[in-house]
Each structure stands twice: as C-alpha cells, then as structure tokens.
C-alpha cells in the first residue's frame, strides 16, 4: 500500500513533463532557445540534450543541498549551481563537436538563464527528495528536448528539405527560406501550439460524455 502510494507520484513526476505539463508547449518556458536554435533538427536535439543534462544535474544538487541553502540567497545559489553545470556542458560540446558548438553559439551559455531550469529548481527540486527531483528533471528535460526536436524537424524539413542533414524531400522541392530564419521559429511555434491546443480541446470535449456515462 505504502509502496504503491509512492510509486504513483514517481511515475507521474517523470511523465508530466513529457506531455501534460510540457515545458514548451504547455508552460511556454525557455522560449529563447526554442525560437533561436531550432533552425535544424540536429541543433534542436543537441540543445535539448544539453538542457536535459543541466536540468537533471542541477535538480539533483539543489535537492541534496535544499536544507543547507539559506532561503534568502537561494536564487543566487541556484544560478551558481546551474552555471557550473552549464560550464561543464559548454566544454563537453566543444570537445565532442566544435562545429556544433559554433552553430549553437551563445545559446549554450544562455542555458544559465533558461527560466525552465531555475523554475524547476525553485518549484520542485528545493521542495522534494533527490529521487523525485531527478525524475522531474528527466521528465521536463525530455519534454523540452522533444519540443525542440519537433520545432527543428519541421523547420529543417520545410526550410531546406532535409532532416538531420539528409535530403528527405525530392530535389525539385522549393525550400521555404523563411522557415530557417527567425520568423519561421514564430510561425512553427504558433502552428504547433494551435495543433496541440486543438488536440487537447478535442480530448476534453470527448472526455465529458464518458464521465457522464
């Protein structure tokens, strides 16, 4: 009984970030990387993974130190923790692929100010145990990665006819240059939000008769 009670929220901690409370599509957090670096699928995916990494590690450390951090300076401490992990990620990407590091540019360092990470530290990790904080970070990070990958895939497909650099559409396809420009980010985000809100509205509408019956 006791185990079951603990299991249910644990699974939920992980799953809520993927869809129901997706950081991008539902909470609209961290819009700066969402709009700026998703001009190709690989950029979106690697930015998502970098954020996932920082999010899980900072959630872990914040949760471990939650009783040691004085309430008055908690934001500064969180930022310090996040910034340390971002530095790690920055050097890691530089070591793995200098080309990727160049195409993501300043946005790797800007993970520090991604409000999603600070938001999870403040709202979740500093109030819950380590295991739940890790699951929350993992779920939110995966949800963020999923959203960035969606954005990047749509924009790359329409903007250059490729997916992860591989030509998918026939050679005769006319690329929509605007989709890889900043404006395309806004168009894609708006269209995806429209689609998701539409799907959720339909689900809510179909859920009502079931409850009544």
């Amino acid at each position: 009984m006791a185990i079951e009670q603990r299991d249910a929220p644990a699974a939920d901690d992980l799953l809520k970030g993927l869809w129901r409370e997706n950081p991008v599509f539902v909470q609209l957090l961290g819009m700066c990387p969402v709009l700026a670096v998703t001009n190709s699928a690989i950029n979106g995916l690697s930015m998502g993974i970098a954020t996932l990494f920082v999010l899980v590690l900072s959630n872990t450390l914040v949760s471990l130190l939650r009783r040691a951090i004085p309430r008055e300076v908690r934001i500064a401490t969180f930022i310090l923790i996040i910034a340390s992990f971002v530095t790690v990620v920055d050097y890691l990407i530089q070591a793995v692929s200098l080309e990727l590091h160049k195409s993501l540019g300043a946005f790797i360092s800007l993970i520090v100010v991604n409000c999603l990470i600070l938001g999870r530290a403040e709202a979740f990790a500093s109030r819950h145990g380590v295991s739940r904080a890790v699951l929350d970070g993992l779920g939110m990070g995966l949800g963020f990665t999923f959203a960035l990958l969606c954005m990047g895939a749509v924009r790359e497909l329409l903007g250059s006819g490729t997916l992860f650099g591989v030509a998918v559409l026939p050679d005769a396809f006319q690329p929509w240059v605007v989709m890889v420009l900043p404006g395309g980010g806004f168009f894609t985000l708006g269209a995806l939000l429209l689609l998701i809100n539409h799907m959720q509205a339909r689900r809510a509408a179909s859920a009502i008769p079931v409850e009544q019956a």
């Binding site: 005769a172 396809f173 006319q174 929509w176 240059v177 605007v178 989709m179 420009l181 404006g183």
Partner: protein, 340 residues
C-alpha cells in the same frame, strides 16, 4: 420617432449616416482598381491574368472556409477580401508560380486578417502580409521579373507559372530588371515616359502609375479614400529625394523617378490607405504618411534591397495605433496640458 404616447427613442451618435456601407465602399475600390488590373493583363498577358485570378480565389476561399470553421456567417460578400486578393495579386511578379500565389493568399488572409478577428481588427494590411511572407520564403522567385509587352504574351505562358505545387520553378531566359534594380545596381535611369505608362518590368499592377492615380482620384472624388495619406507620402518622398538629388546628383535619383518607379504609387494610393490599419485623426494621418515616405526613401537608397514600399507600409501600420495615441485630440473641457 417620438410619436405621442410612445417612449422617447434614445440612441447614441452618429445620428446622420452617409449611406455608405462597407460593401458599397469596397465595391467602389474594386471599380477603381479595374483600369490598372486591365492594363496589367494587357502588359503581362496570360500569366498576369492567371496570377490575379489565383490571388483573388485563394483569398476569398480562405476567408470563406475560416469563417465556416469559426462558426461565423461568411464575410465574403462584403467585398473586402476581394480587394485584398486583387491588391495582393497586383503586387506579385507576373510570372510567379501559381502555387506560391495561392500559398501567400492563404497566409495573408489567415494570419493577416482572420487571426486578428476579421475585417476591422487587422493590424496590418492582409495583402502585404501575404506578400511579405512570400518575399521571405521564396526570395528568388519574388525577385524574378519578366519584361512588359512580350510579343507572345497572350498565347503562351512562362514555364514557371504552372510549376507543380511545392516544386522549384524553372525560370526561362527572358527575365528583366525593374527600374529600381537597374538604378540601384547599374545606375541606369529609366525614362519618365515609360515609368508613367508602366511599360517596364515590375509587379503586375505596380507599373501603370497614371492609371493608379486616376483610380485614386476617382475614390477621393467620391469621398471614399483619405487623400491626405498618399499626399503626405508623395510629398515626403519628393522632398527627401529632391534634396538628396540636388546635393549629390550623380548618386541619388531625382524625385520624378522616385515617385513613379516601383510600388510607391500602388502602395501609397491603395495600400497605405487601408481604413483599418491607418490612423484615424487628421494629424495622425499626415504623420503616418511622412513616416512611410521617409522609410521608403531610406530603404530604397541605403538599404540592401532595391524596393521597400512593402516594409515601409507594414511598419507604418504597426505604428498607426501609437500615432493615434500621440495626437489624441484634447477632450473638450480639459486643460491643454493633460489630455486625460
């Protein structure tokens, strides 16, 4: 109204209506656009006709379908979307692939008009929203021009027009440069006579300067267009370019060339005067025109592109609510210092 024994009817102003409704005015704008539309078809032939028809149909269909999707009665009958489509078609290159024409029409009406709530709520001119999207999405196709008065223009179509949807257009050899591009990149000025008649390369409907002016004058005479907007734009462009031409004659073109080339005539007369997206006060309208005129000169002379009327008008649209706020008339009875 107030017959004895009946309750006194109380209504708010305006008490006198001119009788002009939305669809009367809009229908008249269509009439004013007809001469320049016919001239465009004469100059560029069959492809211009197809582009114009596709533009109008795509805009009208989009409006109709979106109204139905939103569960509202269709607003196609007020003619405003026909004007949007016609104006949008007139701003396009005459041999643009028809699938691009339709794409821009859908985007212009959906994003530029319906998303804001339909006629009366659009912050930007929907026709220009469609065009600016195409310019950003397909820059090559949007800057490939065909010469006017080609000999076989009524019998054969440029291959690019009927490109299969979403495929790359294949432009054949007979492309030409617009007068503005010739000026910007080759320092060649087109004679004023050609500019007035519009026998130059350019967008389908932007070249016939005299016919556009005639259509505008007809609307002004019927009190259906605010003449202050084009007047302010023309005055600003003429003054700025005259000053620059006088100071550096070799570097900058004169006012006649600036006024009658490119999309300035069509933009100033029919697009900047969009009743919804322009300011409503008399002083505001003048400020709006000066802003657009100055932006046109700046973009044309110092920008990377040869033409900037489209961007100038869209920026003017964006500024117009703020202009209205800035020049808000003093409320009667309040002091001059604070208009609260």
């Amino acid at each position: 109204m107030s017959a004895p024994g009946r309750t006194l009817a109380i209504e708010t102003s305006p008490h006198l209506a001119s009788g002009a409704s939305v669809d009367t005015i809009m229908r008249n704008v269509v009439y004013a656009l007809l001469p320049v539309t016919c001239w465009a078809v004469y100059l560029f032939g069959l492809s211009a006709l197809l582009v114009l028809v596709t533009a109008v149909l795509s805009c009208v269909l989009t409006e109709h379908l979106l109204c139905r999707a939103a569960g509202r009665p269709t607003s196609v009958r007020d003619w405003s979307v026909v004007i949007t489509g016609l104006l949008y078609g007139l701003t396009l290159p005459p041999a643009l692939p028809l699938w691009m024409v339709a794409t821009g029409g859908v985007i212009g009406v959906a994003l530029g008009k319906s998303l804001f709530g339909g006629l009366g709520y659009n912050a930007f001119n929907p026709a220009l929203v469609g065009r600016v999207f195409l310019q950003a999405a397909f820059p090559t196709a949007m800057t490939t021009w065909y010469p006017a008065q080609l000999s076989g223009r009524f019998t054969e179509l440029p291959a690019a027009v009927l490109t299969f949807p979403f495929a790359k257009p294949d432009f054949d050899g007979v492309t030409a440069a617009t007068p503005l591009a010739q000026m910007k990149f080759d320092q060649v000025a087109t004679p004023a006579g050609e500019l007035l008649l519009g026998t130059t390369a350019g967008s389908t409907g932007e070249t016939g300067a005299l016919l556009i002016l005639a259509g505008g004058a007809w609307l002004v005479a019927r009190n259906m267009m605010n003449w202050r907007i084009p007047a302010a734009i023309f005055a600003t462009v003429a003054a700025c370019s005259a000053l620059l031409h006088w100071a550096y004659p070799a570097q900058y073109p004169g006012p006649v060339f600036m006024l009658f080339s490119g999309g300035l005539m069509l933009g100033a007369v029919f697009m900047a005067t969009d009743m919804v997206a322009s300011p409503i006060t008399r002083r505001g309208v003048v400020l709006y025109g000066v802003l657009i005129g100055a932006l046109v000169v700046v973009i044309r002379l110092w920008g990377g592109m040869p033409e900037g009327v489209m961007y100038a008008i869209l920026l003017g649209n964006a500024a117009s609510p703020h202009i209205d706020n800035l020049v808000r008339p003093r409320v009667f009875g309040t002091s001059r210092g604070r208009a609260q």
